[in-house]
């Protein structure tokens, strides 16, 4: 990933970050809470590079640690997120019940194109794709812990169980209509 820098956190964003840092004070593990709160506060639910830099400078935590933590946890996004988030489980149980086809359906439905074997994202467990119009983000997760309901897809934080290609397509189209 490149470090294409967004605008510096603006004054109000800075004030918010300062306040979060102050409230977390020196608790061990404070960084996690800070990153979470700051990401949640961002309208596009992500942590721009400049924000990470600012957090490092403000807390005195080395930038390398801030980056390491922000990339270790699947919870954190370093790219802006779409209005709607669809998360496909690619864990073992869901895989055996066809989650690859669900992902493929989403790719085609939302115009990402077919999975490309040379695509670097395919050999990583963490796939994140956002449509150009910023309306949808598709991501994968390694297991929701709901294997009995496999295959599982989470749509805007709602768990949908025993999903098949038709129901998924229908739900995506519904969301497309709603967010028009």
């Amino acid at each position: 990933m490149q470090t294409t820098l967004q605008e510096n956190p603006d004054a109000s964003e800075r004030a918010f970050i300062n306040q979060v840092i102050a409230s977390q004070s020196d608790r061990p593990g404070a960084l996690l809470g800070i990153l979470e709160a700051v990401q949640e506060h961002h309208p596009r639910k992500y942590l721009p590079m400049e924000t990470l830099r600012y957090i490092a400078a403000r807390t005195g935590i080395p930038p390398s640690i801030v980056y390491s933590v922000a990339t270790f946890y699947a919870l954190f996004n370093l790219q802006p997120q779409g209005e709607n988030t669809i998360c496909v489980c690619r864990g073992t149980a869901c895989h055996t019940r066809g989650s690859r086809n669900l992902l493929e359906t989403l790719r085609l439905e939302l115009g990402f194109g077919r999975e490309d074997e040379s695509d670097e994202a395919t050999d990583s467990d963490k796939l994140v794709l956002t449509t150009e119009d910023q309306r949808f983000t598709v991501r994968t997760v390694a297991c929701f812990g709901q294997c009995a309901l496999a295959p599982v897809v989470e749509i805007n934080h709602k768990i949908c169980s025993h999903v098949n290609e038709h129901t998924l397509q229908r739900q995506v189209r519904e969301l497309e209509r709603e967010s028009k």
Partner: protein, 235 residues
């Protein structure tokens, strides 16, 4: 003063200090246990599993570098089972990245290679992963070649614990884990780096090297770093 206790290493009764690790006690008694991620004076992380030993009373193989001694403990440092598992650990390190010794600056002076030789590894029983990895040439004096990195974090620890600069960290996780500098910047752009070269000298492979050396020419000079680390710890 920590209490002196007795343990057995390969049948021999030796004394150790309460709070020592098995590795420290073994070294003190002149016993050899292979290690890779361990570096004397730095914190131990138990990442490579080369130092595994058998301890009477448990079926689990325990890493000597992080397991504390206990009074009456009986440790075995060499056995066919241990050799087998140490080989597996090494083979997995080899297949994970692109270790082409013949063209490596550290060929002949590499801890990974030396261990493979001493454990009798001549070929890999698994497919190579052949990841497509970059080389960071941005630092004016040093190079980072991800192809040869085994993620032992010695560089991370020496830079954080001895130099106090904390330039390095591991980013992502699992098979995607990579060494990274600063906010994932090219090393040469990380202003916290003091150009001290400690990370280069403690790196067990050719992943971190000085510029200007050809194949086989990079010999690491790290004898003084443990002493430095101890002094720092003793402050």
């Amino acid at each position: 003063m920590p209490q002196t206790i007795s343990i057995r290493i390969d049948g021999e009764l030796v004394s150790a200090l309460q709070g020592q690790t098995i590795l420290e006690a073994a070294k003190q008694a002149g016993k050899y246990i292979p290690t890779l991620c361990y570096f004397e004076g730095l914190s131990a992380v138990g990442a490579c599993r080369l130092c595994i030993v058998e301890v009477a009373g448990t079926d689990k193989l325990l890493p000597a570098c992080t397991t504390p001694v206990q009074d009456g403990m009986s440790v075995t440092t060499t056995s066919p089972k241990l050799t087998q598992y140490r080989r597996i650990a090494l083979e997995l390190l080899f297949v994970e990245r692109n270790h082409v010794c013949a063209v490596c600056v550290s060929n002949g002076h590499c801890e990974l290679q030396n261990l493979a030789t001493s454990l009798g590894i001549t070929n890999m029983r698994h497919w190579y992963n052949y990841p497509n990895l970059p080389v960071d040439l941005s630092h004016k004096r040093f190079v980072l070649d991800h192809n040869r990195c085994i993620l032992c974090t010695r560089c991370v620890r020496v830079c954080a614990e001895v130099e106090g600069a904390h330039v390095w960290e591991i980013t992502e996780r699992g098979i995607s884990s990579r060494l990274t500098s600063g906010l994932n910047q090219p090393w040469g752009q990380v202003t916290d780096c003091t150009n001290c070269g400690k990370c280069v000298q403690v790196c067990p492979t050719g992943a971190l090297a000085e510029k200007g050396w050809a194949v086989e020419e990079m010999v690491k000079q790290n004898d003084n770093i443990s002493g430095l680390a101890h002094r720092k710890g003793g402050q």
